[in-house]
Each structure stands twice: as C-alpha cells, then as structure tokens.
C-alpha cells in the first residue's frame, strides 16, 4: 500500500515543502485515502488557494487541479462541481486561505451543502508569507505580527462548519495517520458538504518563532494544543482547557 499512493503524484514534480512540514504527511494521507477508495482520478478535481496548503494538490497530485486566488478556492470548486456533478471535488488549502480571507465562502458552501470535501491544512499561521497571525493561531503564540503573543481567540473550525450545516466534519493531527486517512475517506464518501481539519505543524515559521528549534519540538508544541477524543458524535470540539479535540463530528 505504501508504494501505491506515490503513483498518484504528478510525474517529475519535486515536493515543495520545507523540512518537517506537516503538509507532506497530509499529502500522503489524502492520496492514501483516494487509493483505498479506488477513486477514478480522471474524474477527480482538486481545487486549492494561495499559500503553502495550496501547493499540496497543485502541482503535486496527478489529477485535474485548479490553483485559485487567495481565499477563493471554494467558490471556484462550487462552479466546477455545479457544472459537472460527476467530478469528485476536493478543496485542499490552508487555514488562512479557507478560514480567514475565505471564511465567508466556507460557511456558505457548508450551508448550501455542496457535494464536496474541504480539507483545511491548519498550520496555525500564514506560513508562506513568513509567519503571521491568522484566525487559527492559539492565544499566546508568537508570530511576526503578534510579537507579544496572540491576544485574539482562534476559530474552532469544527464548530464553525457544523453550525453552518456541514454533513461531516473531522479533525486530526497529521501525525494521526490512520485516523486522518479514515476521516478523509468518510468525507469523500459523504453526500453533501464534508470538512476535514488536518492540524499540520509548521516547524519553519510557527515552530521557530515560538522557540521550538527542532522539528520534534515543533511537533510536540502543536501536539500540546490538541487532545484526542474517542467520542464519535456531537461532542465538544474544544475542551474546557481550550485544547482542540480531535475526532469525528458526524451529522445525519
């Protein structure tokens, strides 16, 4: 199985990620899910926005890919899916792209229940522009635009999309491989709007600014903000201590 996912990579593409980037793991998990689902890659469309997360499908994945404006991947995907409902349509992009500049499109796509999967690669900062605060940065975290620590509350993306009407939502760390692969598979199999938040450590920007000088320390730091839940259902997606709860949040 481990060799098969690589066959879905676009030939002659050098993966564009920094050392230790969680997005590389996420790419593998997405492709593993598609391999296991035996999805027809000729009828699969990946849509992505601007930022490190946008580079996960474009150019890495060997399907039709549409690389869009910053924040607008979802409406581009809506148009493609409405024009050709046969396309298995996935949006893969970063937290800044999907939740900050594109937040309005996220909630409306969930509300209208478009039959597509949105995978948000959440690295908790704007990585490509050098590490600025975004709507998912934890309180207290250092970024280039919050030198004294972030004072604003982050979005709970799971609560957000569930409130907007998502039919399936899940959150896992990219290091929780089997769970994340299973979640992506369920999302793709869901009829209607599905959402997967993949928490993806960014050692180069987010880790380094928070004095995590090794890839391992950066992962430990992000993992310390997350707690796991075995509960499947409408549990809390952030616990009493403010930790992000991983798991599946399934609707009807």
């Amino acid at each position: 199985m481990s060799s098969e996912w690589r066959e879905y990579l676009r030939p002659n593409v050098t993966l564009p990620f920094c050392p230790g980037c969680g997005h590389r793991l996420l790419l593998r998990h997405i492709l593993t899910a598609l391999v296991e689902l035996e999805v027809d890659m000729d009828k699969t469309l990946f849509v992505s926005g601007i930022g490190c997360g946008g580079w996960i499908p474009s150019p890495c994945i060997n399907t039709d890919t549409l690389h869009c404006l910053h924040g607008r991947a979802i409406p581009f995907a809506v148009g493609a899916k409405m024009a050709n409902p046969e396309l298995t349509t996935l949006v893969v992009s970063g937290d800044g792209d999907i939740a900050d500049i594109g937040g309005n499109h996220l909630i409306h796509a969930a509300r209208r229940n478009h039959d597509m999967t949105v995978i948000c690669a959440n690295n908790m900062n704007y990585g490509m522009t050098g590490g600025q605060v975004c709507s998912t940065t934890p309180v207290g975290a250092i970024t280039h635009t919050t030198p004294s620590g972030n004072e604003r509350n982050p979005f709970d993306l799971i609560a957000l999309v569930n409130g907007a009407g998502a039919k399936y939502a899940a959150r896992y760390l990219v290091t929780e491989g089997p769970s994340l692969v299973a979640a992506i598979k369920r999302a793709v199999q869901t009829t209607g709007f599905s959402f997967v938040e993949a928490i993806s450590p960014c050692p180069t920007q987010f880790g380094r600014q928070n004095k995590k000088d090794s890839i391992k320390d950066a992962y430990t730091y992000v993992e310390s903000m997350v707690t796991s839940s075995d509960t499947i259902g409408m549990g809390r997606s952030v616990d009493a201590d403010g930790l992000l709860v991983t798991g599946e949040y399934v609707h009807a």
Partner: protein, 379 residues
Amino acid sequence: MPWRTVNSVLPEGRYYYTGAEAVAEGAIAAGCGYFAGYPITPTTEVMEHIAHRFPEVGAVFMQMEDEIASVCSCVGASWAGRKSMTVTSGPGFSLMQEGLGHALMTETPMVLVDGQRAGPSTGQVTVGAGDVMQARWGMHGGMPTIATAPWSVQELYDGAIRAFNIAEKYRTPVLVMAEAATMHLRETLEVPAQVEVYERDKAPGQPPFGCAAPDGVPPMPAFGEGEKLLVTASTHNEWGFRRTADPETERVLVNRLYNKVMMHVDELAEVERYYLDDAEEAIVAYGFTARAALAAVESLRTDGRKVGLMRLLTLWPFPQKAVKELGSRVKRILVPEMNLGQMVYVVDAAADCQVVPYTQMDGTVIYPSSIVNALGRAA
C-alpha cells in the same frame, strides 16, 4: 469546425423586451450553461430572468454569497466545460476585478455584463457609464481586455452572443459594458431563426497554455477528460507548471496574452459611422449616449451643419485606426460621456484634431439637446 449554426432557443420573431431580458436570452442563445450572480441594481432582473429560464434549458443557475464568489465560480464552471456568465454593476464590478484577472491569466472564457450605474462607490443606482476605464485598467497587471458597449435591447441580445463567441474563440473574459439605461429600456427585439456560435477547440494531449504562434490561442480541454490539467493563475509554462521566478516564462506568457488581443484589433474593434462622409465635425460616442448623439446629429443636419457620429461598439481594444482616420479629416470631435471624462482621453490621444469632452455625471441620461448645445459652444 468550431463555428456552428444552431437554432435560436427563443422562437424566431419580434419581442418587446427589456435589455435585462434580452441579455439573458442572448446568453441562452449562445449556449451559456452556467450563470452565477449576486443581486445588485440595476442588473438583478437579468438574474431573475435567468433563474426562471435556465432550468428550462438545462443550464445551471447559482446565486452566490457575493460577487467575488460569482466570478470565481464562473471560472470553475468554464473549466468544467460550460460556457459561463456573471452580471453585475459598479460595486460588484470592483469586487470582481481579481477574479477577472484569474480568468484572463488562466485563459478562461467567460462573459461579464456590467450594467453600469452612477458611481463612485455605492453612488446612485441610476444611469452612468463610469466603469469604462475600469474595464481596461481595473485589474492589476494592466493586460489588454475586450469590452463592448451595446446601445440597444437588440444589441444586448446580439452582443451577448458575440461576447460568448469572442470569449470562447480567444479564451478570455469578455466584458459587456451595458448601462442601467439600456438594462431597463424596453423596445423591440428581433430574434432570428438561427445563430452562429463558437464551440471551444479541443485537442487532447496538446499543451493547454502555450502554442507556437505569438498571438495564438491554445486548445482548451475540460476537467474530467483525463487530461490531468494543471490550472494556475501564477506564471506558468505551456503545461501549467508554475515558473514564478523565470523571466522567460513570464515574457512568453504575457506577450502572448497581449498579442492575442492586440494583434486582432481589426477583428475585435468595431465602429459604426453615421453621416461622416462629408462631416466637418464629429461626435464619438458609445452605449446609451450614442442614441442621444445620433439624434443630435440628425437635428443639426436639418440645420445644415456638417456633423457626423462615430459609434464605438467596442471600447477595448480601442478602435484606434478608425478614430485616428476620423481625426485626420474633421476639425473637431465631441465626446459626450456619462462620467467626468474617460474615453475622451483615448480619443484625444488617437485623433489629431480638437477633441472636446462633454461630461454629465448626475444619474440622468444625456439629452440630444445637451449635445447640440455642447457642439454649439465648441464651435
């Protein structure tokens, strides 16, 4: 062959339609398969008409959360194989500029109708023509665009079909710079039995973003055809691979995008001439204002004044040759506009004669008498 003759969707005959209805029916006749929009006066009626009509013809209608989403979804739909359109007005046109740039850079055919109102900002929801320069220079990057200026209900119908044909042939967004005045106008529309439509070229296995000719238009596959397309609005080579730090890739791409419009100005840029054969003075006008200009010319002609009208059917690419030639044989050109002077600068640059603006920006249309008076003052 990409050109096909198809039966009109509306039965042949005479209709008494508004401009909004005509542009919607023109889009249907052209084979538009996807519409996305957001309500805004004075173009909401187009969307309402389409919401009723598209389900009858198997096309997809979407009311999106804003104008940004509308234009972006048109790009997605176009790549999924459907001719796509959005309709808006000033504030929405501003919001759409970035998405238009994406369409231009990815060579995505689509049609955008701007029912111009009186700006700036929210301004007035009445008539104006304040977006004509924005149609050329609104997007960052300054690439040439294709923009038309219909003056009648008939031309909103015919012009919608032509806009789709140009968009598909040249693989670029086409802007129909309509106005509130024509959108809300109701007059006779003649629907022919058949129309000519352009269907996009397909060439499986060929590069979708490059070709040998410096002004060439590559074939356009669609998503779902097994081409594994790599579509990006970042600088890309002929296969769509990003080359964002390579000067040669950028030069090749932007020069071809420039040339595919500017080397075809003769085909794209249309004018109409009225009473110009012996004219000593001329009016250059476009859109609804050209109707008043023609009435003014006919009134002045009855008084024996040798004045004519050149109507710009195309604003961009600008009909440089025609205006330059006109300027060489009249002593004066008056340019009436429902803004504080926009196309007058372009006319002035092209024409080697006196060029006089007549501007009116108060949410009302320009009357023929105002143009007659303006020409009287200029003499």
